[in-house]
């Protein structure tokens, strides 16, 4: 029995690790290339003299910094906004459910199903007329709206895990909505709220439809910056890799840290 089990785990281990390395290879290769000089970069070899040249050049490009700043401002800004709007709504749905609550939640979900490309034209024209094209405000607004259903669902699913009597005890003790939020609900569900925020940041950071179509140099986030390498710029592989590594690293870490809770958000609470 133990023999059999250890053999199974050996086989699983080999398959698991081979697949892991294969899946991770493109990322590994990107990181390796980012430390090459442009001349070494076009030779697929791991024997090279490591250099930070790519990183230095990327950082010295003035627009990189502004793109990176846009990514930070836009993803954090829209996440905070989505939380501010989503927390009260999720609280109401989780603790004061009525006959309509279920329909309301499903409707919110359904707004997420609308393909962005289907409304590209009117949004583009509305943005143009409102002067929101290539502005951080416009992108924050769009990111907030497109993540709001996910944020509400995820918070709802975490709030459902908080026993109602705890909030009722709070009401008996004299805690109204804001007090309940501040002293009871937010502290108790902090891990859930944090992973909701992280998922929202990840989704905003990686967003590549609105940011490619509605921004240029002023409000463009990193995904738009990277996209600019698809043209002749793409010849500079070391720089591309360095920029990509910088763009991807923080999100990769966040994603790894919150993996388990993310499943909940990504499946709208259907898989826990």
């Amino acid at each position: 029995m133990t023999m059999r089990r250890s053999r199974t785990s050996l086989i699983a281990g080999i398959i698991g690790w081979v697949s892991a390395i294969a899946m991770f290879f493109p990322i590994f290769w990107m990181v390796v290339t980012s430390f090459k000089s442009e001349i070494d970069a076009v030779v697929p070899s791991i024997l090279f003299k490591p250099t930070l040249q790519g990183y230095v050049e990327v950082n010295s490009r003035a627009d990189y910094v502004s793109f990176a700043l846009n990514s930070v401002v836009e993803s954090i800004g829209s996440t905070l906004l989505a939380l501010a709007i989503g927390l009260p709504a999720a609280y109401a749905c989780a603790f004061y459910p009525g006959k309509r609550t279920k329909d309301l939640l499903l409707w919110m979900l359904s707004t997420k199903m609308m393909p962005a490309v289907g409304v590209l034209v009117p949004i583009y024209l509305l943005f143009r007329d409102a002067g929101l094209l290539d502005t951080r405000l416009g992108i924050v607004f769009l990111f907030t709206l497109s993540n709001l259903p996910i944020v509400i669902w995820m918070l709802y699913s975490f709030f459902k895990d908080v026993p109602t009597p705890i909030l009722e005890a709070g009401r008996m003790d004299g805690a109204r909505f804001w007090t309940q939020m501040r002293y009871i609900l937010i502290p108790i569900s902090m891990p859930g709220i944090a992973s909701t925020a992280l998922l929202s940041i990840i989704l905003c950071w990686n967003e590549a439809f609105w940011s490619l179509n509605l921004t240029a140099s002023r409000a463009g986030p990193l995904s738009a910056f990277i996209a600019s390498f698809s043209s002749p710029e793409g010849l500079f592989w070391a720089k591309l890799s360095a920029a990509s590594t910088l763009a991807v690293a923080p999100i990769l870490v966040m994603g790894w840290v919150t993996q388990r809770q993310l499943v909940r958000g990504l499946t709208f609470g259907a898989v826990k």
């Binding site: 005890a169 008996m172 004299g174």
Partner: protein, 370 residues
């Protein structure tokens, strides 16, 4: 003065009426227990008093003031929840002091009050712990402490003992009785366990399907149930019911024909009943005795020996099994044939609609009906 009055109080969820018109007075210092089977509305009623559920119609008065629309914390109540509902992220000290903090009581006074309550409940060593690091019994005490500290005029308990193991439950029950004695506050307590109701209450309210079946002292309910439901709900083991027929009615009571041919004359008044009517005869196990001259004959099918007493399950006929209380030393075995006698003075007669016929004499422990 912490009296509480319910005046024709109802509660509906949509078209579904959960509480169907409750009238009740609870006096100062009283320990009032709501008891009933699950789904009877007892918890909902308690939560309405607490202010956690709104009242669909009728009035709720505390100390003569209508409080229907007051939020929970302004009603002068404190509640102990079934699941304790402690704040998991706060220490015991902060749990107990939370209401005071929200009421803006200064830190120093808060500490004094928390420590006084902690001493009362022997929680002093645990003040800096979080609820997760406490045993079930300790959490229970913290929940009680959190209620006490607010010095409420009325305490509400929602099945507070149901999450404790059997030994701890008995112990906590006794502590609660002593606490009531010491604090002298009004307490309202919900349980489905009639033993808790009997041991703790001055006043028991038996509920069924959102209506009050009977209100009374424990002994009143035990000795003078107003109907079959209360008779069967109060008392353990349960009251036996024997289908019988009225043989005759006289000033001495109602003479009931038993299965097997004997009769028993129960001292109840029976203005609306006549010979030939079908009734249920209610007999508690302790009022059935093994007696070779008794009118009921049957076979012992189960013997439950508790040491100090023995319960015999006796099959009189295939559809009538009676439980009789006997002495702890009762030597009877399964399959033995026995005869049972009935203590007529302690029997109850329930008419066809389930209502009890009033006894001619009150039991000495239940002389003053509430």
């Amino acid at each position: 003065m912490a009296t509480l009055s319910l005046r024709n109080v109802t509660k509906s969820f949509g078209a579904l009426e959960i509480i169907k018109g409750i009238d009740l007075e609870i006096e100062d210092h009283e320990f009032c227990v709501f008891v009933g089977p699950s789904g009877c509305g007892k918890s909902t009623l308690l939560r309405m008093i607490a202010g956690l559920e709104d009242i669909t119609s009728g009035d709720l008065l505390i100390a003569g003031q209508k409080v229907n629309d007051l939020p929970p914390d302004e009603r002068g109540l404190a509640m102990v929840f079934q699941s304790y509902a402690l704040y998991p992220h706060m220490t015991v000290r902060d749990n107990m002091g939370f209401a005071l903090k929200l009421a803006k009581v200064p830190q120093a006074e808060r500490d004094v009050r928390v420590e006084r309550v902690a001493d009362l409940l022997e929680l002093r060593p645990y003040l800096e712990r979080k609820p997760g690091a406490l045993s079930g019994g300790q959490r229970q005490r913290v929940a009680i402490g959190r209620a006490i500290i607010r010095e409420p005029s009325i305490f509400l308990f929602d099945e507070p003992l149901s999450n404790l193991d059997a030994a701890l439950r008995v112990q906590t029950r006794i502590e609660l009785a002593r606490l009531h004695e010491r604090l002298g506050s009004t307490m309202i307590y919900v349980t489905h366990d009639q033993v808790e109701a009997m041991t703790l209450a001055n006043k028991i309210v038996v509920l069924r399907d959102g209506r009050i079946e009977q209100v009374g002292t424990p002994m009143e309910l035990y000795h003078h149930p107003v109907n079959r439901f209360v008779g069967s709900f109060i008392g353990s083991p349960k009251m036996n019911f024997i289908k019988g027929r009225v043989h005759s009615v006289s000033d001495a009571g109602v003479e009931v024909l038993l299965p097997g041919g004997g009769t028993v004359t129960v001292p109840v008044s029976a203005p609306a009943i006549a010979a030939g009517d079908d009734i249920d005869l209610g007999v508690r196990p302790e009022h059935l005795d093994v007696d070779d001259a008794g009118p009921l004959a049957g076979t012992v099918i189960v013997v439950e020996r508790l040491g100090n007493e023995t319960f015999l399950h006796v099959e009189i006929s295939p559809d009538l099994i009676l439980i009789a209380g006997a002495d702890g030393a009762c030597p009877l075995q399964v399959h033995d044939r026995v005869r049972l006698s009935v203590l007529a003075a302690a029997c109850h007669v329930f008419a066809g609609d389930g209502a009890a016929l009033p006894a001619l004499a009150r039991h000495p422990l239940a002389t003053n009906p509430i």
